[in-house]
Symmetry: C5
Subunit: 354 residues, 5 copies
C-alpha cells in the first residue's frame, strides 16, 4: 500500500493556492478527452492542449472534459483561469490526499471522490475530482488507466437513445458518481472471495504468514471505509435538491445511489466484523494447535518417566539386590513396565486428556 502522507510536507510554507502536485508520480503524459453532446448531436475527441477545450465552455451543448494525470502544473493553472475555478480548488484537485467532499460555489460545484481497484493484490485508491458547471463537467483522474470505471458511461452517451442524451448536468453528475459506487461492489466481491479463502485456509493451517495477510486485509478495509464513508454526506447534499446546478428533478436517482452507498458501507462494516472474527479464529486455532502438540509430547514423556526410573533402579550396583538374582526378574520387569504404560494411557484417556 502506498504511503498515507504522500509528500504533503512539500507544501509547507507555500502560499495558499500555490499549485503543486502532491501524490505518487506516474510519469505518464497528461491526456485530455472531450465528449460534447446534446439530444441530436455527438462529438468525441482527444485533444492535446487545454486551449482546445475553451470553445466548448460557452455553448449550449452538454460537454464532458476528462483530464488524466495531475502533473502538468501549467495546464492546471490554465484550467483555473479559463473556467473561473478558485486557486484553492485547483490546489485541492492536485493534492491526492483529499478526503471525499463536496463544495458549492456560485458558478460551479466541486466534488472529490475516490476510485478504488486492486492492482496485483494491492488496493489502489485513485482520486477523482469533478467540477460541475452549467452545461459543462470536468473530471480529473490520477492515472486514467485503460478501461476505467467510466467506460460504460461513455458507451451510454454514445447511444443516441439513452436517457443521458436528453438530460443535463445533474444526470451526468449522477451517472459519474453511480459508476464509481457500482465499482465498489466489484471490490467488495473480491474482498469477500479473499475472506472465504482465508476461512478455508485457517481450517487447515494457521501460519504466521496468514496472520499477516489477514491483518493486511483488515487495514485495506479501514482504507476503503475512509474512502466511502464521507460519500454518504456528499450524495445526501446532492439529493436534497438544494444544489442549484444539479436541480431537484433527479432526486430519486441520487436517492438510489445513496442507498447503494449505504449498502457498501454496511458491507464494509460486516467485512470488518468478519475479519476481526478471522483474527480471533486464527489466534484460537494457533493456540489450540500448540496446546495439542505440547499435550501430546508431555503425555508421551510422562509415560516414560516411571519406566526410566525402574530401569535405573535395576542398574544400581548394590551388593545385595535380590531381584537381580531371580530367574525371571528381567521378564517380570518387562511385564510390569508394559502394564504400567497401559494403565497410564487408560488413566489419561479416562481423564479426556487424549
Amino acid at each position: 500500500m502506498s504511503r498515507y502522507t504522500k509528500g504533503v510536507s512539500k507544501k509547507k510554507g507555500l502560499k495558499p493556492g500555490s499549485l503543486i502536485h502532491v501524490g505518487n508520480s506516474t510519469g505518464k503524459k497528461t491526456e485530455i478527452h472531450i465528449i460534447d453532446y446534446k439530444d441530436d448531436y455527438f462529438e468525441e475527441k482527444d485533444v492535446h492542449s487545454i486551449d482546445e477545450c475553451l470553445k466548448y465552455r460557452d455553448t449550449d451543448n452538454m460537454t464532458w472534459i476528462n483530464i488524466n494525470g495531475l502533473e502538468d502544473i501549467d495546464l492546471y493553472e490554465k484550467v483555473g483561469k479559463y473556467f473561473g475555478v478558485h486557486s484553492l480548488i485547483m490546489e485541492d484537485i492536485l493534492n491526492t490526499n483529499q478526503r471525499p467532499k463536496i463544495e458549492e460555489f456560485e458558478k460551479y460545484i466541486f466534488i472529490v471522490l475516490k476510485m478504488i481497484y486492486f492492482r496485483e493484490d494491492k488496493l489502489v485508491v485513485e482520486q477523482v475530482s469533478i467540477i460541475c458547471m452549467e452545461n459543462l463537467i470536468i473530471t480529473f483522474q490520477e492515472e486514467g488507466k485503460d478501461g476505467d470505471v467510466f467506460g460504460n458511461l461513455r458507451d451510454r452517451i454514445r447511444n443516441t437513445k439513452s436517457k443521458i442524451r436528453k438530460t443535463g448536468v445533474g444526470y451526468l453528475t449522477y451517472a459519474l458518481i453511480d459508476s464509481i459506487v457500482d465499482n465498489y461492489f466489484v471490490i467488495l466481491e473480491k474482498v469477500e472471495d479473499k475472506i472465504e479463502n482465508f476461512e478455508e485456509s485457517l481450517m487447515t493451517t494457521a501460519t504466521n504468514n496468514l496472520f499477516n495477510e489477514v491483518y493486511n486485509l483488515k487495514r485495506q478495509m479501514i482504507f476503503l471505509w475512509k474512502a466511502v464513508w464521507p460519500l454518504r454526506e456528499i450524495i445526501n447534499t446532492l439529493q436534497r435538491g438544494e444544489v442549484e446546478i444539479i436541480g431537484s428533478d433527479i432526486s430519486i436517482y441520487f436517492k438510489d445511489v445513496y442507498d447503494h452507498t449505504v449498502q457498501v458501507i454496511d458491507t464494509i462494516e460486516l467485512f470488518r466484523d468478519m475479519i476481526a472474527g478471522l483474527l480471533d479464529t486464527y489466534l484460537s486455532s494457533a493456540s489450540n494447535k500448540m496446546n495439542e502438540i505440547m499435550k501430546f509430547l508431555t503425555i508421551f514423556s510422562t509415560i516414560f518417566i516411571p519406566l526410566s526410573f525402574l530401569v535405573g533402579v535395576y542398574g544400581m550396583n548394590f551388593d545385595y539386590m535380590p531381584e537381580l538374582k531371580f530367574r525371571y526378574g528381567y521378564a517380570v520387569l518387562w511385564v510390569i513396565m508394559i502394564s504400567l504404560s497401559a494403565f497410564m494411557l487408560m488413566y489419561f484417556r479416562k481423564k479426556k486428556w487424549l
Copy 2:
C-alpha cells in the same frame, strides 16, 4: 450462510433502472396469489399472469397481490408499467441485497423488509418488498415457501368478522409488518435454545469445534441485527401518521409493533453480550483445562526427578562406594525414595498445587 455480495457486480455498467435479478437463484416458477376483499366480499385465487391482476387495480375493494419469485424479468417490467412504479423501485425489488427501508411517493409507498428463518440450522434471510397504494398492496417474496409467515394473516382475512375486513390499506400494511416481526421472536427463541445448549456443553467439553459453532452464532446475530435495526426507523415513519396512504388513525398499532421491534433489538443485543460471554468462558475454560493437565504432568515428572538421580548415583562404578556394600543399602534406599516422594506430595498439596 450465503454470500453477502450476491452477484452485485453483475449490475456494473448497466443504466439505472435496468431490471436484473441480483441474488440466489431458486429455479422455481414465479407464483401470483390474489386476495380481493371488502367488508362483505371475499375472493382468493392463484393466477398465472400479471395481466389478470390488472382488473383489480381500480376497484374499490381492498386487494392484496402476493408475488413469489424474483426471476421473471418480463413480469416485473409489466408490474412497473401497470401499477405506475418507478423503474428504480422495480430494480430495488429485484436486488435482494437491499437493506430494510421505506420510500414515499405520491401514489404509493415502497417498503423493503427481511423475513428470517432457519433452514437446516442455517439462518436464511429472504427479502420481502411491499408496495402500498390506495386500496392495493403488492408483496414480493424471494421463495414464498409453503407455510410462510403470512399464513395466519390470510386466515384472518378469510374470516368475515375480523377487524382486517373492515379496515383499509394502513391496517393491512401493519398486519404484514407485524407478521414478520412476530416471526423474529420464533427465531430468537431458537437462538436462545442454542445459547443454552452451548452453555451446558462448555461446562463439560471445550473443543475447538464448539468454538467455531459459537463463532458462527455470533455472526448470525450480526446478520439478524442488520435485518432488524433499520426496521425501527421504518415503523417510526409509519407511526408518526405523516404517510398519507397509511393515515394516522392506526398509529397505536404501529406503536405496538414498534415496541416489539425495540424488544427484538434489545434481545439481539443481549444475545450478543451472552455469546461474547460464551466465547470468553470457552477461552478461560480451555486454558484452565490445559493448565490443569500441564500442572499434573509437570508435578508427576518433578517427583521422579530426584528419584532417578538417586538410582543413577548407585549405578555408578566407583571402586570405593561404601553404601553399596551395606547389607540393607538397597532396602534403605527404597525407604528414602518413598519418603521423599511422600514429602514432595505433601509439600505440593500444602502449596495448593494439587
Copy 3:
C-alpha cells in the same frame, strides 16, 4: 436466571390485541386489593372479582386498585372493558417481556416498570404495570409476593396526616415509582457486597468456579441495566409537567426520583467497570499462579539435569576410567554435585527467577 424470550412465540399469528399471558406461570390465584381514600376518608379491602371495583371508578375519592397475577385472562378482558383501556395496552400488561415505557392517552397514561429482587441468589425481574386515570390508579404485578415494595407506601396512605392523603393521582404515581427506585438501592447494596466478597476471594484462590460466578454477576448487571436505563426517559416525561393527568405542580418530586434513577444508573455502570476489573484480576491472578508453579518446577528439574548427567558419566563401563579408581572419587563427586547445585541456586536467585 429465567429465559429472556419467555414463550413469546406463542403469540405468533394471533390478531393484535388478543389477550394471552406471556411469561413464567406461577399457578397462584389472582388477587385484587383496593385502597380508596381522600383527605378524611379511608377504606381498604381485598375483593375477589373485578366487578366489585367498578363502583370506585366514578367516585371523587382517590382509588388504588392493585392486581396480583397475570394469568386470569377473563379478568383482564373485563378490566379493559370497564376502565376503557385499549386492548393493545391490555396485551402489553400481560406480556412480561415489555421494556419499561410510558404511553399517554386521552383518558389515562400507561407505565411499565421492572421491580427487581434477589430470590435465592438469583436476580428476579417482575413487571409492574401502572394505569393512571383521573382519581384512579390500577397497578398490575406478576406475583405480588408478601411484603412487596409497596408495603411502606400503603402504611403511609393509612396514616391520616400524610401528604399523600391530601394530594391526587400525580403524587401517588410518584410514590409508586419512588418505591420501586428506592428498592433498586437495596439490590445495589447486595451486589456491592458480592463484589467485595469476590475481591477478597480472588486474593486467596482463583478457581474456575469463581470465574463463572463473577461472569454470572456481570450478566445480572446487564439485566439490571436494561430494567433501569429506560426509566430515565419515563420519569423525564413525567417531570416535564406536560402529562395532563399528572400535572406540573409535583415536578420537584419527579426531579428527585429522576436524580435517584441517574444515581442507580451511575452505580450500575461503576459496578460493571468493577466486575470487568474482577475478571481481569482473576485472569491475571490465575496466570500468575500457573506461572509460579511452572517456574518452580522447571527450576527444580533444571538443577537435577547436570547432576543426573554426572552420575550417568560414572555409571559408564569403560575399561579405562581413571576417576573410578581414585580413593575419594565418590566423595569428591558428591562435593562437586552439591557445589554445582548451590551455584545454580545462587545464579537463579541473582537473576530474580526465584
Copy 4:
C-alpha cells in the same frame, strides 16, 4: 476506598423529604462558621447554634455560612425552615451519594460538588453542597478537615482590598467552585507522580502486587471522573448568565473555571489511557520475563539430553561393546560431548534463541 452505596437502603420506605444522614459517620460535632462582609465591613465567628445565623439572613451584607458535619438532623431541619429550603433539597444535602448537580429555584440555587483529596494514599471524596441566595451563601461539608480547600478563599475575603469584597453572591459562588476545581489539579499532580513511579517500577520488576496497585489507581480514576464530569454542565449553566441570582456580568470568570474543568477532564482521560497502557506493559513485561526464564531453562536441559543419552549408552552391560575396550574411549567420549554441547549452543545462538 469507601463503599459506593453507603447505606442508601436505610432510606427505603421513608416518605420523601425525610431528613436522614446517608454516608460515612465521622462522629465529629457539627461546626458552624460565619463570615459576614461588605465593602468596608468584615465579621467572622464560630457559632454553636443555627439560630445565631438567623440574624444574618435579611441584612444587606454578604454572608457566608459554612456548616461542617452532616449528622445533626435537628440542625438541618432548622436550616430548611429558617432559610426556606425545600425538604427534598435538605434531604439531598444529607445524602452524600449525590452526583454533582445544579438546581434552580425562585429564591435560591442549589449546587452539589465533590471535593477530593488523598488521605493515606486513599482517594477520599467529600460532598460539598452550596445554597446561594440573594446576599447569602450556605456551604455544607462532610468533615471540614483543618486546612480545607476554602482556606485561601477566606484569606482573600479578610483582605479589605480584594475584588471579592466589592462583588456579590455570583463572584463568591465562582470563588468557591474555583477553589474546588483548583484543588483537583493538586490531586492530578499526585496521580501523575504515581503513574511515573509505576512506570519506573515496571521497568525493573513486574510483581502481581504492582498489578493490583495499578488496578487500584485505575479505579480511582473512574471515581475522579464521576466527580468531575458533571461539573462541566453545572458551570456551563452558570456561565450562560441565565441564572438570575448569579447574573451574567461575571460570565468570563465562569468561562475560565469551565476551561479548567475541561482541562481536568482531559487530563483524567489522558491518565486513564496511560494507566491502561501501564497494565498492558505490565502484562507484556510479565509474560516476557516468564518466557525468558522458560526459554533459558528449556535450552539448558535440551543441551544435556543427548549427553545423558550418550553416557547411558556406555553404561550398558552388553558383552560385546568394542568402544568400552578402547584405551582412549573415555577421553574421546568427553571430547565428543563437549563438541556436541558447543555445536548446540552455536546453533541456538544462530537461531537467535539465546
Copy 5:
C-alpha cells in the same frame, strides 16, 4: 515527554487573574519582534521593551507583534494594560496547559493553538497564543526557537507583491493558523516513517524494547490528537464568518485550512489504528517465536526419551538378560534406536508439527 500537569498546583489559592507562568522554564530571555506593514510600506525590528510596541497600537498599518518566552511577568502585565486584554486571558497565555480554544470579545479575539515538533525523537508541544485586534495581531510563543513555523510566513510578508500585504487581520490570522497546520503534516510524515521502520523491525525481531517504543509512539499519538482535535471547532468558528474582526470574505481560506485539519485528524486516527495493529502483530509474533522454540525443544527431547529408556534397560544388572549375551546385541540396539528416531521424526512431520 514532559509532564502533563506542569506545576499547575502552583496556582492553587491565588486570586483569579494572577499572572504566573505555568509550564517548563527555559531560562531564555523574552524576545519581542515587530512587523509593521501595509500595501506599500514595510518595517521590521526587534525591540527590548513592550513600551516600544505601544506606538503601533493605534496606527492604520497592519502590525504583527511576536513575543517569545512566557516568563517575564512584568512584561505580560503591561501587555494586558496597554492593549486592553482581560487579566484572565493574560493568565491563560502564561498557562501552557491550555487546550486549543477560541474566545471572542468586543475588541479582540483570543486563540490558543499548539505547535508541535520533534526534538531528539521526543514530541514537543509548544503553546502559541494569538490576540487578534483591529489592525494588530500579537502572538505569544513559549520558546520561539530559531526557524520556527512562522519563518515562511514572514518571508511572504516581506514580499511587496504578496496577497498578504493587501489584506487585513483576517488573512494574517488565517496565515498563522495555516502555518501551524501545515507543520502538522511534517510531523505526520515523520511518524509514518517511524511506523514503517517498526513494521520492518517486527518482521525480524520482536524484542521487549521495540514494544516499549511502539507504546511510546502510541502515547505520542494521543498527545497529537489532543492538540489537533479542538482545532476543528476553532477553525469552524472562524469560517462561519460570524467573528466580526475576521470578517466573512476569506471564508474560503478558512474552509481550506479546515479541510487540512480534518485530514490531519483522519491521518492521526489511521496511525492510531496502525499502531494498535503493530502492537497486535508484535504480541502475535513474540508468542509465535516462543511457541516455535518450545515446540522444537520439546520435540527434540521427546525423541531422546525412548532412546534413553532403552539404554537404561540394557544398563540393568539382572543375572539373566539374554540380549546382553548376543554377539550383535549392541549393534542391533543401535539399529533399533536409529530406526525409532527416524520413525518419530516422520510421524511428527506428518502431523505437521515440524
